[in-house]
């Protein structure tokens, strides 16, 4: 299942080619994603923001209120972040869950500021990935996200990165960009890029830091 050539040969080339040519046109892609979005909504994919996720039984900080990501989206990022951030995540299970949860909260906070138009685009992308039929056909991810291994998530990202279809490249960039920014941009992980933060002498001298 992790072998890409095997995946290619077992999927129907006819369907594959047909979809490729269809998605090559931007309009086709937009209509397709719109249809998926509607279908996913009708078929019960949750489209309401997760709100406050109970701390019991989840990794989330119950004080954070989700304004865009649904519980399905949260599961999607829980599956993708180990592949996107990779060795940047701590290995100790509890610490690892906390870092993933915090990153997902910052992704949500960031998307909230994207405004309605870009939120709509992301909603389409996330619905496509969350809806079983399209998760399998478009992303070629066979298991539901909570069961996807890091290797499978990585293989999916690689397929979209190296795809000849611009729409998939675009999806790859969208997923990795929001995740990378929310992770590497956060103070706790600055050290991973050797960034020492704002110069201390300036922080000490500036009034806006004095009341913090």
């Amino acid at each position: 299942m992790n072998d890409q050539s095997e995946v290619r040969s077992t999927s129907s080339d006819f369907v594959n080619l047909d979809r490729r040519s269809f998605l090559k046109t931007g309009l086709g892609g937009a209509i397709f994603l719109g249809t998926v979005s509607a279908t996913a909504g009708l078929s019960g994919c949750s489209s309401t923001p997760a709100g406050r996720v109970s701390a019991v039984g989840t990794r989330m900080d119950a004080s954070y209120e989700f304004r865009f990501l649904t519980s399905d989206d949260i599961q999607l990022f829980e599956a993708l972040l180990p592949a996107i951030i990779g060795p940047g995540l701590p290995e100790q299970p509890q610490a690892r869950r906390m870092v993933i949860a915090g990153t997902i909260e910052r992704i949500d906070a960031g998307i909230h500021k994207f405004g309605p138009a870009n939120q709509k685009e992301l909603r389409r992308l996330f619905d496509l990935l969350n809806f079983g039929l399209t998760r399998v056909t478009i992303a070629r991810v066979w298991s539901s996200w909570p069961k996807v291994t890091t290797e499978e998530a990585d293989a999916f990202l690689e397929r979209w990165r190296t795809s000849g279809i611009g729409l998939f490249n675009n999806g790859y960039i969208a997923l990795t960009k929001i995740s990378n920014v929310a992770f590497y941009g956060y103070e706790d992980f600055w050290h991973l890029s050797g960034y020492p933060g704002p110069p201390k002498w300036a922080v000490d001298a500036l009034p806006q830091f004095q009341n913090a």
Partner: protein, 530 residues
């Protein structure tokens, strides 16, 4: 040291400033002039009109942020100070658009590079668009005036290492380079211009012309979105505007109606065409939103043997115009070479990658240099620019096709950037392209650039300079406004922002906007007082 905060003091002294989020019921206000936008164009316009004694209302969709909010933090700054929380892209998602959305507009978050409009550009406008009055000699006094107003001078401090690499590479190869003029006063050389100047050194609209207007009794309403200019026969009667909630992105439902004798649209090259299209402003030749230019940008990063610390120091201080006009003004597309600052969030978002690859990319950030190329679009028939359109919800988008003519320039720019980085001693170089590896020699990089597909979504493309869309020209059949920014068909509407440029500038556009706005506002003030 600029520790005393001009905005905090002004607010205390009783400036007329209204936060749209505090409005609980619909309002109607009136002034001589309503200025929509508070960036390079709107700020300049408001100050000049207010100083001449006219009553002015300034409308800004973004919010008022100032020193207390500028804490050198990328995540909070990108979310609050940029359009669409820094997620703005072209219609097909292929080009990232960096654009300010706050009081002061992009001048609050730009990297302070301050160039006059190149003579070749002004001469081309005269030839091609009948804009003889904008010839270099005629514009010189306006550039002088704005350079003084915004304290623009060649950066006298040693460039940071990031910029010095561009200088060294150019020196090695015999390419010309120069020092960038910056609009700063008492700059601490920190490196955080892009997230709001923490020391009040940057002399953008936020600390110069907007306070100048407010000192002269102008009224600033921020967190207020300009929805529609409403016509009454052949004149604009009023502006219909929506107050935004405190999050800055959700309309609260409260509306504000603004009546005026004259309206100045200064909402940027995306915002202004969008507003005019939403408003159904007369457009007999279907010119609004056409010929939108962006200086398409591609980039290379390099790992240097010595520490670069690209997050510290004046972000831009060295540039090269060696390849900008070398093919003639309307020959193969030229490009200006500059350097971007690299902080962790921006770097991780711009360098494509994930997993091990990405953490290895990021781990070398202190040794990383980047060079960017800004393509001079719009001077050739094969570079007709993009189009501003409206989404279902009325918000504007930019549709920007990348033509083969531009791809040719982007490929040449990749060669030049990698060559310069290796000439400056780079250990390895990576193109901002989905298929790029790190290349350890110039020959390997060159061979890769020969082969890499120049395709949307694979080449990472950016713009921080939006221009055109309401182009000026002598002939109403191919332009929206005349050479003074006056609308061809609506007598009480002017456009004072980068949307009036008939082509791109070929240099960072802030000074071009300041100078044209000053010139056109001075005329407008005389007209309205006559």
């Amino acid at each position: 040291m600029q520790l005393k905060d001009r905005i905090a003091q002004g607010l205390e002294s009783g400036w007329k400033v209204t936060d749209g989020a505090t409005l609980t019921e619909n309002r109607a206000l009136e002034a001589d002039v309503v200025v929509i936008g508070t960036g390079a164009g709107g700020g300049t316009t408001a100050e000049i009109l207010a100083k001449s004694g006219l009553s002015v209302i300034l409308v800004e969709e973004g919010r008022l942020y100032y020193q207390k909010d500028f804490k050198m933090d990328e995540l909070s700054a990108y979310a609050s100070l940029y359009q669409e929380g820094m997620s703005r892209v072209t219609k097909d998602g292929a080009i990232a658009i960096l654009q300010g959305r706050c009081v002061g507009g992009s001048t609050t978050v730009n990297w302070t590079s301050s160039f006059r409009t190149p003579d070749a550009t002004l001469d081309y406008w005269a030839d091609r668009f009948g804009l003889d009055a904008l010839a270099p000699d005629a514009m010189a006094p306006w550039f002088d005036g704005r350079e003084q107003r915004h304290n623009m001078e060649s950066w006298a401090v040693k460039p940071n290492v990031n910029n010095d690499i561009l200088r060294q590479g150019c020196d090695q190869l015999g390419y010309s380079w120069q020092v960038i003029p910056r609009n700063v006063k008492g700059c601490w050389n920190l490196g955080y211009c892009g997230v709001g100047c923490p020391t009040n050194a940057k002399q953008g609209a936020l600390l110069t012309t907007v306070p100048g207007a407010l000192d002269n009794d102008a009224h600033l309403i921020h967190g207020l979105r300009a929805d529609k200019l409403v016509m009454n026969q052949d004149r604009i009667d009023h502006l219909q505007a929506s107050a935004m909630a405190a999050d800055g992105i959700t309309p609260s439902g409260v509306t504000v109606t603004l009546k005026a004798r004259h309206f100045v649209a200064a909402a940027s090259a995306i915002g202004t065409p969008g507003l005019l299209l939403r408003s159904g402003i007369p457009d007999p030749h279907n010119r609004i939103g056409k010929r939108s230019f962006i200086h398409p940008v591609n980039a290379c990063v390099a790992e240097m043997p010595e520490k670069v610390e690209p997050f510290y120091g004046a972000p831009q201080s060295i540039y090269s115009d060696h390849f900008n006009f070398s093919g003639g003004v309307d020959g193969p597309v030229g490009y200006k070479l500059e350097v971007p600052p690299l902080h962790p969030a921006m770097s991780s978002g711009v360098i494509p990658g994930h997993g091990d690859t990405q953490i290895n990319n990021m781990a070398r950030l202190p040794w990383m240099n980047s060079v960017i190329a800004l393509l001079r679009d719009g001077f050739h028939p094969a570079s007709p620019g993009g189009t501003i359109g409206l989404r279902d919800d009325g918000s504007p988008y930019l549709d920007y096709p990348v033509t083969d003519y531009l791809w040719d320039g982007l490929r040449r720019a990749f060669y030049t950037m990698a060559e310069i980085q290796f000439a400056a001693g780079a250990k390895r170089v990576r193109l901002m392209h989905l298929d790029s590896d790190w290349y350890s020699t110039w020959a390997d990089a060159k061979a890769a650039i020969d082969q890499l597909p120049m395709e949307l979504h694979r080449v990472r493309l950016f713009t921080a300079h939006q221009m055109g869309g309401c182009g000026m020209g002598a002939n109403p059949e191919d332009s929206v406004v005349n050479g003074f920014g006056e609308h061809h068909h609506v007598s009480n509407l002017s456009v004072h922002d980068a949307s009036i440029f008939p082509t791109s500038i070929g240099a960072n556009p802030q000074l071009s906007v300041y100078a044209l706005s000053a010139r056109n506002s001075t005329r407008l003030a005389n007209r309205l007082k006559a």
